[in-house]
Subunit: 195 residues, 4 copies
DNA sequence: AATGAATGAGAGTTCATTCAT
DNA sequence: AATGAATGAACTCTCATTCAT
């Protein structure tokens, strides 16, 4: 009846698959439209199986939270092998690439952002993320001035805030139009003197 | 002024009061937490009464949508009595003021923004709004260059996109910190040569 | 389709009917087998209607608790118009009658008794009931000795405890056989010198 | 004595341990709160292991039934080495001791008693037990009259019923207070002329 | 214009049970 | 002999919506 070759997935996969399905659902329908039964069905298991891996819907959401944050952190600049301004350029390129390859991530991030004001668990992690991001931007801007790869007087703190706000606004808030987004990021680079 | 001794409110008031309550609820709990019963209770009427004024929850939401858009449009620059750059400054000041005086508006706008990808009715109106906003910015920037109140070469289109993205990111996405927001807007003005 | 003449019951009736149905279910299937859907169906309404009157299953159970206690208290001797020994005889007759006419009451009382050790709300009310009962017995026994309608030395306290224990054991614990119960109560009266 | 180093228990032990755990759970939470997972966890095994030993929850309950009945029968008078009235006194002492040392037994007996009206298997065995008990009481009372160790006219049948009802009422139905129980049993003995 | 009462559909969660390993 | 993983069925509870009054 069931295909012989349908080998049972190792447990880690099931858990991950459920998170991925929930992630997908949130991107598509928002927290508002997240249904445990649909998530389970998307993975091809019973709802009870979902509760075997995640005791509650909230636990599943936390799983999605971790997953999304992990994906997002991959964009933050990490390699100090190049000049600060090149790192900044790399970061912007990374964001552009991520928006192109994983548009769902930003939909989910937007949902998490709005929810962060109501859910302390999300709030905590979400704020940490924004703090790290802003600090990284500020650090790179300051370093770029110090090593001369960026010139002119600037308030690194304020510019970091602007960068984060602009990227969030461009990536997380509809309407999403790839062309416009590229334009916006390019203009942001220009305003920083990177182009 | 209003008729004395617990007179029944005129229908327009009821309708508006319900929209206001729903608006408040969305700001506080998001679409996810919007309950018709709670909205009705906040106004002091029965749920059935809510459905007398709004045939469905969605109709109520559309009421909120209109209300929010109306509030928001008031910030857009309208009076051509001053120079273009002054109008831009005035717009930024207006946004700052609005964030300070009606923080709920931006919470609701954020919710509407995310919902706009799933709800065609919201999507339509929301996109219109952003288009109008961006066009206004582009127009003012172009005019400012033309009348000489802003100097230097610039791509008005790209800058308008950046302005809109940055303001949205700063005002609609948590975490909200007044000081940071002021800083961000100020930096945005600086990057445009307005300071 | 639905009978025109089926007039909607007044609200108090609905509430009472639900309690009665739950009472009946508990008598028949125990707390273990109490299902809100079945209770609602027995009254001929939707489960949601049950929750309209009782916010939770526990609230419904509390309704049953009150109902059972009220029924039970009607057996306790109240009229001091006769001699103490006659009042005792009357009480025993009342218990016998109640067991005959409302056997369900004792099934429910048994369930409540067992639950009383786990549910503080039930525990409180249940214990109160037994305390009142025992005190009433003790008072009547003492009075009967004082007014001479019962003779011989006796420890009213201990006898009251025995009376309550024996009646509970006979009425609340299966197997229930009417003949045996009558026999038991008769013997209890004999042991007190009432026969 | 037992094989060292976490040896797997012999099957009989496992089975008994599961029954003991279920017994304990029923005493604590009633049939209403009996969960196979909790029972298994208390023994330190998987739920599936429980089902290896007991094909169904009902089978486990039957195991508890047998265990409880076995424990309870140990109280019934068995040794005809003394006079009938001494055997009666011994029985009462045995009940008192059992209530003190194994209060859980009576909680479980109460649960079984209520369930006996719904579960034929329990009903059968439970009724048998009460019949045996009552018959033993009646026999001893008759014998005590015959051998002169108890005097006065008496209806052994009715007194046996009273004894069983009173002991059940005192031991199986809350509220349980050791002092009151001793008092009740003592009064019961007195009423039979045993004190 | 307003409501108390009622409901269908569906939500998240639980639980005894099964089965491949 | 034992288990991790999985499930169907059923549970209580919620919510937007309806309707007679």
């Amino acid at each position: 009846m069931s295909p012989r070759s349908a080998a049972p997935k190792p447990p880690a996969d099931r858990s991950q698959a459920l998170v991925a399905a929930a992630y997908h659902q949130i991107a598509q329908r928002g927290f508002e439209g997240l249904r445990t039964r649909v998530v389970a069905a998307e993975v091809g298991v019973n709802v009870a199986t979902l509760h075997y891996y995640f005791p509650s819907k909230e636990a599943l959401i936390r799983g999605v939270l971790n997953h999304a944050m992990q994906r997002f952190r991959s964009t933050l600049p990490a390699s100090p092998s190049s000049s600060a301004s090149d790192q900044l350029r790399g970061h912007f390129a990374g964001v552009r690439r991520l928006v192109r390859d994983e548009p769902e991530l930003f939909a989910v991030m937007g949902e998490l952002a709005l929810r962060s004001t109501r859910d302390p668990v999300i709030g905590e992690i979400y704020q940490q993320m924004t703090d790290v991001w802003r600090a990284a931007m500020r650090g790179l801007l300051a370093k770029a001035v110090a090593d001369g790869s960026l010139t002119g007087p600037r308030d690194a703190d304020a510019q970091a805030s602007l960068v984060v706000a602009a990227l969030m606004g461009a990536c997380m808030i509809p309407p999403f139009r790839p062309a416009r987004l590229r334009e916006t990021v390019a203009e942001l680079e220009r305003s920083l003197g990177l182009r």
